[in-house]
Assembly symmetry: C2
Homo-oligomer: 359 residues x 2
């Protein structure tokens, strides 16, 4: 209320934009800048707050000897609402479950807040709600509370939904972006680029006949199986991240920065399905930049890597898990890929996103 | 994914609409029907879930002897973004804090999920974020995690924000919609109708010169002061609700239904400021139907009523607290108002809302 608009200024220019552009929502550099230069300064507080950690979820100590709590939220504006293999509904449920799971937590419950456009068919809303309910039941995580608002026709695009969720972190689990350390093995839980290409395949006049479906899936079961693969969960998994917007590239560069270490991956080791590779060639996109929904990237101490990989491959959501690289002492904060020809290239975060509204 | 669209049908007709209308977001009967006939059946689960209770927040037992946890969410689409005395920013922070507080909880943290429209001025977003940060600091509840999505120009209205939050319920506190009981005194924490009229005063070509500003405020401090007014918190406050969309009328009818008891209020006891009364006369609206943001309605055992009222009036957000009625054995589920002329009228929930997008 007492904010002085005239006195407000952006602490650093946001790439010289004075208005929001689609790239601010892409999960790349523009999104990072919006968070670091606009939201974090505005939300700064002297209160005990985990805001500065910027993991997929915020972690809290509770009184009374209770487990730590992980809390996260995600907003979904994917277009179209239904796409091969999924919809905004299961995406919204699985996405927040996964953000909570990436701190090692077992998700407890979700909330759902809807923005509905006047004129939306009730049948469409019902179908989205049914898919949310199905996904929640399949994951074993109830949607426990919600809110609905309606805006005039032309002020939304069918519907948007924001889910939030919380979970409890078992004793001994210590999963955080900053824990990745030189020597750690980098494991991806399966094929990359699938969700983004599945959505693109029905959009933007790009309709092309791939047989590819979204990989949207809840990953908390896989995470708990991984943590159980070693004797000491804190030295079984150091870091987890689901490579959604910005793809595996954004995930790796963010972890390299948080851990103040370098990451080296082998391009030939990346599990890229033929349909994704073909679509990326056609569109001039890098599979590393494409959004995933049902995949995770894990940073695992070398001593635990074999056991974790085995546990992943034994789980329905990790059958094609594979090692793609390692954390190194050199080039702190930088990710490099070794190409099949023995050369290396630096992996950078995309500025925005090749095509917006992918999730 | 495996939902059969052809087989999906609305369990009961939603007032014969086949499409979303603005009234579905108004917090009245249409909203109730959407929740009861569309969302609840879709989200049904055999999992332990507090969904059926339909309080302002969902309450969970945590393992390890920890306090119970309250969890809630609210979506904000208020238009305009800035209005007399407030903005979508402080509304989004205070609103979710209050939903959590209405279960007797002390709020711990909030999340924020944004839908931004391409072309939104960064200065406007910055001002909203600053007002969210200010409100969070003032309330002592950090915004701990968030997400941002951008949609094309013409697919939103500046920005929408969904906040979620959780809090911890102190030992011995038992606040729930169903606990209101015959004999309880109904107390409102101050003037009613203020927020709605403040927003209307700058909208819809209705610009009229009231000096009225929104009453948006965080109420968790007031709630804890009320609970501390008696020896046994469970018998000091039975039920709390913040009368936002749908106003005091919707709150009272919902509590009457949940408690399976009647409620009788005295119209002459309702604290309606002159500016609200004047605007309502002019527009043909009932002050009981108008949205509030920084007010609560409490159901308090008669033995504790004097102490609770005194504690409220000693608090900055309860100075004008006053008794407006009582819970009765008769007409279960029905709210009646005694008019100044000694007659009674039944208070019903509005179908939609007189003017949409008030919060």
């Amino acid at each position: 209320m007492s904010v002085d608009l005239a006195g407000w200024s952006c602490p650093l220019p946001l790439r010289d934009h004075t208005r929001i552009v689609l790239g601010h929502g892409g999960g790349g550099k523009l999104t990072q800048e919006l968070v670091e230069h606009l939201f974090l300064p505005a939300f700064r507080t002297d209160l005990p707050s985990p805001l500065g950690e910027l993991g997929d979820s915020a972690v809290f100590e509770l009184p009374g000897g209770a487990p730590r709590l992980a809390f996260s939220t995600d907003t979904y504006v994917v277009r179209p609402l239904f796409f091969p293999g999924g919809s905004i509904g299961d995406l919204a449920v699985n996405g927040t479950i996964n953000d909570v799971a990436m701190s090692g937590a077992v998700p407890v419950a979700l909330s759902a807040g809807f923005v509905l456009e006047e004129g939306l068919e009730l049948g469409v809303l019902g179908r989205v709600a049914e898919e949310m309910g199905s996904a929640a039941r399949l994951a074993g995580v109830p949607i426990a509370t919600g809110d609905t608002k309606v805006v005039e026709s032309g002020k939304a695009d069918g519907l948007y939904v924001t889910t939030a969720g919380f979970g409890l972190i078992p004793d001994g689990v210590r999963v955080a972006p900053g824990r990745a350390a030189p020597g750690d093995v980098v494991i991806v839980s399966g094929d990359i680029g699938v969700h983004g290409i599945a959505v693109l395949s029905v959009r933007e006049g790009l309709e092309f006949g791939t047989a590819i479906e979204t990989d949207s899936a809840p990953l908390h079961g896989l995470v708990q199986a991984m943590l159980a693969a070693g004797n000491d969960p804190a030295e079984t998994v150091h870091t987890l991240r689901d490579p959604t917007r910005g793809g595996v590239a954004a995930t790796l560069t963010e972890i390299a920065r948080a851990a103040k270490a370098g990451i080296e991956i082998a391009e030939s080791a990346l599990p890229v399905p033929d349909a994704v590779r073909g679509a990326c060639s056609f569109l001039g996109l890098d599979p590393l930049d494409i959004a995933n929904e049902g995949k995770l990237v894990a940073f695992v101490p070398a001593a635990a890597a074999d056991a974790v990989l085995e546990a992943m491959q034994a789980h329905q959501h990790g059958r094609r898990a594979t090692v793609i690289g390692r954390v190194v002492d050199e080039h702190a904060g930088i990710v490099v890929a070794r190409t099949p020809y023995g050369a290396t290239r630096v992996i950078d975060v995309p500025l925005g996103e090749a095509l917006p509204r992918i999730c």
